[in-house]
Amino acid sequence: MKTAVSSGTDRYREMRRVFRQLRRNRLSMLGLLIISFFLLCAILAPLLAPYDPVIPNFAYALRQPSPQHLLGTDELGRDLLSRMLFGARTSLGIGFISVIIGAAAGVPLGALSGYYGGKLDLFLQRGIDVLIAFPGILLAIIVVSIMGVGLENAMIAIGVASIPVYTRLTRGSVLALKEMEYITAAKALGLSDARIIIRHILPNCLSPLIVQSTFQVATAILWAAGLGFLGLGAQPPSPEWGAMLSRGRVFMRTYPFLTTIPGLAIFLVVLGFNLFGDGLRDSLDPRARKY
């Protein structure tokens, strides 16, 4: 009896193959480098930031980049570099947490839907159809409009908006896997449904889920910045790249760095996740190589 990836040794071998292939993919490594850079910035922000990111210092308002303030200061005299470093915490934090929320709800729903089928599947999938009926960022905007504006609510909103992707993806994988011989054998051995799903099906659905999560973090960061830009996400004075960019546009003609720098950071981090995701997809799931 053959399983997709059964024993620990097989998994270890598979992981080594994936890493080898990933290392050979230059663009993917560039993506990983960009992500690592921003992750380090986020983790080390309190050590690296030369000034407090929140407390205003009006005497230094709107200074051009200089040795004292490498990226200049904003309209309240706050050091832009310090705000960018702490902003990395916010943006990456939103990205990861909302993906965790989306996956935590979407994966079990998709697994149950695919495994049990029947009425449960029909009911759950029609629910997902309703969520999918809201294009792009709109679902997140609706959730924020109900729950109220703010960073935490934006995270939940983006998480909720990512549920359909995870549900559909997991359901599709489970539908294919549950027909495999090793699952029939597991059932015949009398293993419980929960054990079959958790121990034997979900581990073999991980590849597409990991790839999707990489792209989803990028989308979540973009959406969070979009919500922040619209005034529906992080609220002042908390440093968030989208909100910083939005405030900076008032001074766009005279102090363009206030918009250029946060925008460039969002662009780079999203690019990083997309490049890394592309490489991961090619290594983990070559059949899914589409575009």
Binding site: R126, G127, D129, V130, A133, F134, P135, G136, I137, L138, I141, I142, V144, S145, I146, M147, G148, A218, L222, A225, G226, F229, L230, G231, L232, G242, L245, S246, R249, M252, R253, P256, T259, T260, P262, G263, L264, I266, F267, L268, V270, L271, N274, L275, R289, K290, Y291
Partner: protein, 312 residues
């Protein structure tokens, strides 16, 4: 084909019902007393009870939904608490503007994306291919609002070629449609490239080449026709996504569409407008997806036979 269309139409009914339920819930799910949330915390008790009555919040939930659905079928989406006008009248003014922007963005994305994708596939692994794919990745990664501001800064402020915001002339449409269409162009370029490469590997292309047909005929006539089928589906789906994306673009370019209306309505807590806008955008999205599915089934008969056979 007719069976397929009827099936797809029937499948849309529960979705639209679900959408209407969700839209109905927007006001009802507000934390605290929804009437106070809509009227504002400083409103007088008399005004709060007036709002409660206007929104039907004093009745049972099933009665509220019945009234909501009945009004909806009559085209009555309530009255805006901010503009003091019927929501349907506001949407009738604003929605065509959003459609105008979305269609312009889609055309631009299709033109740029598909062209870049074809050239990339034909010149695989060349500098053109690398540059086109890099540009497509950049289009996908650039935040809409940042791209908008950069375009405004360069083309409106520095060069003065296009107006930085507003609407009225074709020139007002250019920067917003580039902004809105950039990500779709990137996606379409990647999609077209991979679809073309797949088709170019097929045996019938080798046969066409072996027959001595020119490369232009092979690519333009034989390969493109099949390669564009999946691209067309993505193009259709992008149309729907662009409707959602218009929220940001319209806000930045002061474009008088429903996207900007929605953001303003959320910030002014004008919930009847929030409900109406969300409903119109999502029902349009469902309609577009339905049209795309039908078009895809028409172009690729395997899809409708799959559904008949019970696989889809």
């Amino acid at each position: 084909m007719r069976t397929y269309i009827v099936q797809r139409l029937l499948l849309s009914v529960p979705v639209i019902f679900g959408v209407s339920l969700l839209v109905f819930s927007i006001v009802r799910l507000l934390p605290g007393d929804p009437a106070i949330a809509v009227a504002g915390v400083h409103a007088t008790p008399a005004y709060i009870s007036q709002v409660r009555e206007e929104l039907g919040l004093d009745k049972g939930l099933h009665v509220q939904y019945y009234l909501f659905a009945a009004n909806l079928l009559r085209g009555d989406l309530g009255t805006s608490t901010f503009y003091k006008r019927p929501v349907s009248a506001i949407l009738l003014e604003r929605f065509p503007r959003t459609l105008e922007l979305t269609v312009a963005a889609l055309l631009l994305a299709a033109l740029l994306g598909v062209t870049a994708g074809i050239f990339s596939a034909v010149t695989r692994n060349s500098i053109i291919d690398g540059a086109a794919m890099l540009a497509s990745l950049a289009g996908l990664a650039a935040p809409v609002f940042w791209l908008a501001l950069m375009l405004q800064l360069f083309f409106a402020v520095h060069l003065g070629i296009f107006p930085s915001a507003g609407s009225g002339t074709i020139f007002h449409l250019i920067l917003p449609s580039i902004t809105l269409g950039a990500a779709s162009a990137g996606l379409l370029a990647r999609m077209t490239r991979s679809s073309m490469l797949e088709v170019l590997r097929q045996e019938y292309i080798t046969t066409a080449r072996a027959k001595g047909l020119s490369e232009t005929i092979v690519i333009g006539k034989h390969a493109l026709k099949n390669a564009l089928i999946p691209v067309l589906t993505v193009l259709g789906l992008q149309f729907g996504s662009l409707l959602g994306g218009a929220v940001l673009t319209e806000t930045i370019f002061a474009w008088p569409g429903v996207g900007r209306l929605l953001v303003d309505a959320i910030l002014t807590r004008d919930y009847p407008v929030v409900q109406g806008t969300v409903l119109v955008l999502s029902v349009s999205f469902v309609g577009i997806n339905l049209a795309v599915d039908i078009l895809y089934a028409y172009l690729d008969p395997r899809i409708r036979f799959d559904v008949k056979g019970g696989a889809g």
